[in-house]
């Protein structure tokens, strides 16, 4: 103002308002950010989880499809195929092994795969037993095969994951085949009937995948990880 007396120039009302409004942009920005940031984060996490859900669903489907076509997931080679399908999900199967193993599930990583073959054991199925042998599991769903690989210590929301079909305590050989499935009560699946209804001797092949997403996990969505189950 070149040394002129400022009082000679009354400050316009708009200028006074401007002075009072100093910092408004920051506040507005902060308010907007407080709204936008969680929303964007929520969108990002949901978007990522949706992608994971879609991918996990496809992985579960593909593993089941291989399983029903006879791929032997008790072998390391077949499990490697599954890890390739599930790349990005952190499915780990440990070091290479020869032969067969129905339970390669003591690994780290963020994934667990369970494949099962179940059957409804009606009177026709029980007729396979020699005469005089009691068909203990008649009219029940029984496991014919069960194979695990990945990390069975995986937790969703603090709970260790488990097959929706239950865990057979019967003797299972290295190929995953359940022994004495008609006579051993430990071969029964108490929950299979909740999901599917099979006729006598009818068989269903089931693939279940569990993938946790610890880096993006929302406690309430979707249960701390992604679980898929496909019946073939």
């Amino acid at each position: 103002m070149n040394g002129e007396d400022m009082s000679l120039y009354p400050i316009p009302i708009s200028s006074r308002r401007t002075r009072r409004e100093r910092g408004n942009e920051i506040i507005e920005f902060a308010l907007l950010l407080s709204l936008l940031a969680p929303m964007l984060l929520w969108v990002f996490i949901n978007g990522m989880n949706l992608i994971k859900i879609i991918e996990a669903s496809q992985v579960c489907r593909d593993i089941g499809n291989l399983y029903i076509h006879g791929v032997d997931f008790s072998t390391y080679d077949a499990q490697q195929v599954a890890t390739t399908l599930a790349s990005g999900f952190g499915l780990q199967i440990g070091s290479s092994f020869s032969g067969n193993s129905a339970t390669n599930d003591a690994n780290s990583g963020n994934g667990l795969v369970i494949v099962s073959e179940i059957m409804y054991a009606g009177s026709s199925a029980c007729s396979a037993l020699p005469s005089g042998t009691t068909c203990t599991n008649e009219n029940k769903y029984v496991f014919l095969q069960r194979i695990y690989f990945g990390n069975s210590s995986l937790t969703f929301n603090g709970n260790t994951v488990a097959s929706a079909l239950g865990t057979p305590a019967a003797t299972i050989n290295s190929y995953g085949y359940v022994e004495n499935y008609l006579t051993d009560p430990n071969a029964v699946s108490a929950t299979a009937g909740n999901y599917i209804t099979l006729a006598d001797t009818q068989v269903a092949y089931v693939s279940e995948t569990f993938f946790s997403s610890p880096n993006l996990g929302f406690a309430s969505y979707p249960g701390g990880g992604v679980y898929n189950r496909t019946f073939f």
Binding site: S15, V43, G47, I53, S57, R61, L129, T201, F231, F232
Partner: protein, 597 residues
Amino acid sequence: MRKQLVRRTREKGVATLLWLGFLSLVFIILPMIGLAIDVGFVYAIRAKMQAAVDGAALAAARALSIGATLASQETSAQNNAVTWFNANFPSNFYGIASVSMSASNVTVATDPNNAQLMDVTVSATAQVNTIFMRWFGQNTVLVGATGKASRRAVVAVMVLDRSGSMCWNGSTYAQPCTESTAGLPCATMISAAKQFTGQFAEGSDYIGLISFSDDIYIHSLPTTSFQSTLGYTNSSGSGTGDLDNVACYSGTNTATAMSMAYQILEQTNLPGALNVIVLETDGLPNSLLMNFYNSSTNTTALVQPTLVKGKLTGGSSCTDSTGKTLAQGGFGSSAVIPQWMQFSMNFANAPFVNSSDSFWTSSGPFSTIPSGMVGVVESADPGEAGVTNEFSVLMNYWSKTTAQTPQSTGSSGDPFNAYTAVSTPGCAALSNGGSPQWVSNPTDLAYFPPTDVFGNQLNPSAYTPYETVTMNGTNVAIPTSGANEPWQNWHNGVINATDYSAYQARTNTGIPITVFAIGLGGNTTTGPPDPILLQRMANDPNGDEFNNPAEYQPCADETGCATFSSQPQGTFVYAPTAANLSQAFLRISSQVLRLSK
């Protein structure tokens, strides 16, 4: 003051921008985010639905085996598809508004490019509730998915062992035995085989049946009405048929039965189908159908006479059709070759062929089997009591002249009592009527031919043989020195020829044939089934998947085991006792049905 004025000037329109920003947030960014979230959910649901219809289609294809008619099989497929879809895609999945999937969404049709292929198509749609898009009037989105699966028709020939050891359960031995002899493996095998046929689709799959002991019997060529022809058991019910008539008795001529099964599949000629042989046996093969006359060289396998002082002396005492021995100038042409087997090689009248099968009346696959010096050679099983290290050359079991059913016990209870003895006139050490003549050395023979009548090589050249066989030039030697000889060399040759019979089937380029094998243990201690041989025949590289502890190891870990990755891989299941036999058959049927999809 000027700065303030400048700032004020610069800030002109900021409010408008902010307002525009707010409006864009409300009307553009938030809807876009909402749209992205809704679309994301829709894609997630669609992925789930795709998995559901894929699973439903495969289950529907599998269900084509259920039902006695094509219409009922289609209904089974539709019902299965709905059941599997509902299991994979619950109606409350992720807030689905409604799902449209019923039997009408499942179509079953013959593949336009392959008559042996049935295509199942499953489609489904669902209305998905939106979260954000409903603000703009879009409450639901329609999601759809289609899955397709195919099932090849199965052409299977069951090759069932009805040897005498099937009549032994460890405490009882009642030979011959039948379905009505409860508690013996023969009856269990019949029951298990009927369960096997019950797993396949009457009307679209084809199943035939051969049973074998020393002789073989073709009960039925592959037929689509196999459940009514052979009998069956499944969840729909049961029926009786040829399987119920099988009677067990005598030896184990596995190679001949395998070769007949192979040639039957070749003649059936359905390359678009899944062609399989399902072999069940409880023992070691010990018999082959041999031809001792080589028409191309006009030579016989008989011991030749020697020239002594200008005169032929010695040699086999067998005579030709004019009554002359080799030393007497016999066997000089094909015209005088004796008919050791009594039946004509017109298979329309052959005793081991079901005469109702018109398949055999013309130039069938077995018209190439020569008549003449032909017969079954049976060896004793290892350590078999009473006939240890012996064999019977020219068994009479193939010589039945009247049309009968050798698998039937007949009125007297002896399936072979109506047989006419084979005639090997003049021979010293060959069976010649009456009971088989067991010898430790078939002194009439100089060697065994290198193949049986089906071309199964006793010492295969295409790969390393399972057993070692001593050769005499291009023929199989009959060594008289060495442990257990000459029995051991013949025994090894039979094992190799049986292995080769499966190799021949698997390497057929026109109709690839997959061999499945079931070994039944516990029936005999002198000749139980050899897991390695059956692994080789099934071309199964895996170890024992059926028993714990495993009865045998993966092929790569077994001495003498070999598989071929370029050939169809089947499955071998070892049932330690008859109690496991039905489950073994079901395991095989499951594997076959898996391959058919």
